[in-house]
Symmetry: C2
Amino acid sequence: MQMKQVKDYKQAFHECLKRMGLRSTVQRDVIVDEFFAQDRHLTPEELYRILRRKHRRIGFSTVYRTLKLLTGCSLVREVGTSNGTTLFEASFNHPHHDHLICDCCGKLIEFLDQEIESIQERVALKHQFHMTGHRLIIQGICRECIKKGKS
Amino acid sequence: MQMKQVKDYKQAFHECLKRMGLRSTVQRDVIVDEFFAQDRHLTPEELYRILRRKHRRIGFSTVYRTLKLLTGCSLVREVGTSNGTTLFEASFNHPHHDHLICDCCGKLIEFLDQEIESIQERVALKHQFHMTGHRLIIQGICRECIKKGKS
DNA sequence: GTTAATGCAAAACTTTTGCAAATTG
DNA sequence: CAATTTGCAAAAGTTTTGCATTAAC
């Protein structure tokens, strides 16, 4: 099962590169592998630090450039910004969802509410908008932080 | 009517400053006035450029510091980020709402859907989250851009 | 062998901060 | 007059870019 999944995102990436007339490189493979292995929200900086531990010769710019590529291939999406840096998450085999974010500890919880989804389409329709996507973030304090009385 | 409104946000600002033990200054007044006169979404840089045209002696840092203050006083809120810079909008006498944003021309349309609002509270409750706010942005192509075929 | 991609360092951004001078209450 | 706020310049961040070198097709 694990292998199937691994094969899939990589295959999709290589196909996308080929379609765009771009080349597959060692660095691009290493980056996409590490990103999908982590299986969580990452900033470019976190990803870079993880990569450096395992593969000495990787540049920050390559990480940025590859994340942009992956976004273009719809394998990765920008979730939002946290403390001025962009947060990315895998979107391949990871269907759309929204987020609860804890103002206190920064924890991110994913959720999907079908009603919200369909109301959004209705709103877009009403304004004669061709909806291409959306982003919903609910801010608040999570259960653990409430318990700890951290406000 | 116009005068009433003008008096209100300024009064609220001064009261908030006093409450926090902070001082009213010429610069803070100029900035809040200009922000509310514009009555639209602004980046710190746009606001600064507008201010500079009218009042030569204003520093960029003061604009940033005052925007932060105004946010703390709930007179202004952060709407999101556009091209790496923060977008602010007036929130005094400007109740909560969400946004449709055109990927093509950048136009921002405000909307409010009560159903979405209440479902969000339900979602927060389900995850035992104490919701303090939320942000919903629907991306897409607006009617005008569709017509112009700008895709 | 062409052409594209990399790593590095430097640049370009936005936002924050330290500090002497000015302004406020 | 004591304490806060300002403007400036410099720092601190993140992200992008220019360019010689390396790697892919």
